[in-house]
């Protein structure tokens, strides 16, 4: 078990965004978080990554309680994320964006960088090599010196995933990775995510509305509606579940 969510409740003023939710993700699993808009999926992401503090409940990563840790520390524990609307660093090239992800892997002090002491060079060389490996693995070599935000949407998504992988996470959170992609791109992305899971030994938690994509990719899913869990388990069972159909998938019979 890599991630354990225990009785998480989060409310904003009077609105309960997440209501007493419990679930867990096994190692090397691809887990889907689905549900209608406003169901609390992104809120759940923000709680796991430390952007929001839950009112009650616990987030446990690999046996360690990370509930009230700051978001930049949570990255060090091994959680990385991408955003629903891609957020790359606009003034930087693809490679520099990925180097930002390797920030904590480069081990030298501020003073060492100011005076260009030997450790600066050896560490910079190390992370540059690692960045090139990640770039090559994701087939981004031809874009590596391009300004990240000048690239096409699909490539930018890949760069954002690459940047997240660079932080060497145990758990990767993807917020609607297939949004705005055509069926071909979606298919490639699914293949890529399988490869990433196997090569980097990563567990993936994703939010997605493309049910075909979820069906193809996810081992298990959880369906949220108004902050409540209405289903947890295999996707085949989810699409047959009465409540899920009513809340999210749409009921063709009564339409």
């Amino acid at each position: 078990m890599i991630l354990e969510i225990k009785d998480i409740t989060k409310s904003f003023g009077g609105v309960v965004a997440i209501n007493d939710t419990t679930f867990h993700i096994n190692k090397n699993e691809i887990y889907g978080l689905i549900g209608p808009n406003g169901a609390g999926k992104t809120t759940m992401f923000n709680i796991i990554t430390g952007n929001y503090k839950p009112n009650s409940g616990k987030v446990i990563l690999d046996g360690k309680d990370i509930t009230n840790k700051k978001n930049y520390n949570i990255v060090k524990y091994g959680i990385a994320r991408t955003f629903q609307n891609i957020r790359l660093f606009s003034s930087m090239s693809v490679k520099e964006n990925i180097l930002i992800g390797l920030q904590n892997a480069a081990n030298y002090t501020y003073i060492e960088s100011i005076f260009r002491l030997p450790r600066f060079f050896s560490q910079e060389k190390k992370i540059a090599k690692r960045a090139d490996e990640i770039i090559e693995f994701l087939n981004l070599t031809e874009y590596k010196d391009e300004l990240a935000t000048s690239l096409s949407y699909g490539i930018q998504r890949k760069v954002e995933i690459a940047r997240a992988i660079a932080t060497n996470p145990k758990l990767l959170l993807l917020d609607e990775p297939a949004a705005g992609m055509n069926p071909n791109e979606t298919h490639d992305l699914a293949q890529l995510l399988f490869q990433i899971r196997d090569k980097f030994d990563i567990t993936i938690l994703l939010i997605e509305h493309d049910m075909k994509f979820v069906n193809h990719l996810c081992d298990r899913v959880m369906v949220l509606d108004y902050g409540k869990t209405i289903f947890e388990g295999h996707i085949e069972d989810a699409i047959k579940d009465e409540e899920v159909i009513k809340a999210y998938l749409g009921d063709f019979k009564h339409a």
Binding site: N71, Y72, S91, E96, Q103, Y108, S113, I127, T167
Partner: protein
């Protein structure tokens, strides 16, 4: 980075050669402007680190420059001189005891300025954007008020004068070069990348594992350190300082320099300094009466600033991101693959 090195060494050699021959080329007046330009390069480049690279609109450099100027001035003045100068109140004992050579005095200026910056960082970086500008603006005013109202340390509004003039262009030029190199070393390191990340998208930076508060504080302290040193050099160059010297106008001038040159470009900050400091001296002829093809105009004091402002407006219209944008010299000449 290895790609940058060759070009960089060429620029370095040209700059050193220029500094070495400058005393034989320029006269006293020219040398004075040149010294001024070098000091402002130190100030502009370090200000650019917090404002351009890290993207925090802070308006405090006049405060740090003032701190640096006073520390260096007090350290260089001898005990006898201090007794003679301080007329409002007797100098406090630690002021009398402070007696250093130029280099330790400048370093002390830097250290004091960055210590103040560290204390200031805690409240300052709790706020972002416009609020940050207001808070830092207030800091500059506080320093000025403190300088006026602590006569036992600063000699109040009379200020300090007869500061020994122990620098020449080798000092200002040399320190300017060292400053530029050290700041570039910061920019082209993981810390510099993190600063740019904070500028581009603070939330994403924090989501990728960057302690944004720490990074902003580092940039702020570093910037304050060199502003303190620049302030010290300014005090020695002018030989007279008073609280009125370090008003918001100084900050404003630095802001013009880095915006004109291109926020986030160190080369831009250097070009901006030469244009603003050198240009405003060169345009001085506009203030006096002129003979244009036999037609003699009256003297129009202030015409210089009108023309200068026009030039600024034109540059900003045609080059929104400043002259250099975010590029450096070496980016321009690097071959594209």
């Amino acid at each position: 980075m290895a790609k940058l090195n060759k070009n960089f060494i060429i620029y370095l050699l040209i700059s050193i050669a220029f500094i070495c021959i400058s005393p034989y080329v320029f006269e006293d007046y020219g040398m004075r402007i040149l010294n001024n330009i070098f000091i402002f390069i130190i100030l502009a480049v370090s200000y650019n680190l917090i404002n351009g690279i890290t993207g925090q609109l802070s308006l405090e450099p006049n405060g740090f420059v003032a701190i640096g100027a006073y520390v260096t001035a007090l350290a260089l003045l001898s005990e006898d001189m201090k007794w003679e100068l301080f007329q409002l109140e007797d100098p406090s004992p630690w002021v009398l005891g402070l007696n250093l050579d130029l280099i330790p005095a400048l370093l002390l200026s830097g250290v004091v300025a960055s210590a103040v910056a560290f204390v200031l960082a805690v409240p300052v970086f709790r706020v972002r954007g416009d609020y940050l500008a207001i808070v830092t603006l207030g800091f500059g005013f506080i320093i000025k008020v403190l300088a006026i109202n602590s006569p036992e340390v600063t000699n109040g509004s009379i200020g300090l004068n007869e500061i020994p003039s122990v620098i020449n262009v080798y000092w200002t030029g040399g320190i300017a070069i060292v400053t530029v190199i050290l700041i570039l070393n910061v920019v082209y390191s993981k810390y510099g990348r993190a600063m740019k990340a904070v500028r581009d998208d603070e939330d994403a930076a924090s989501a990728i594992g960057i302690d944004t508060f720490k990074i902003k504080t580092l940039a702020f302290i570093t910037s304050a350190f060199f502003e303190g040193i620049g302030g010290g050099l300014l005090a020695v160059l002018l030989t007279t300082i008073s609280p009125d010297l370090f008003t918001f106008f100084l900050t404003f001038q630095l802001l013009i320099i880095i915006v004109l040159g291109g926020l986030g470009s160190m080369s831009g900050a250097i070009i901006g300094t030469v244009l603003v400091i050198g240009g405003s001296e060169w345009l001085r002829f506009l203030d006096s009466s002129m003979n244009i093809f036999g037609y003699v105009t009256d003297a129009h004091p202030g015409l210089r600033m009108v023309v200068f402002s026009l030039v600024l407006i034109i540059v900003m219209l045609f080059a929104r991101e400043g002259i250099m944008g975010k590029k450096e010299f070496s980016d321009i000449f690097r071959k594209k693959k």
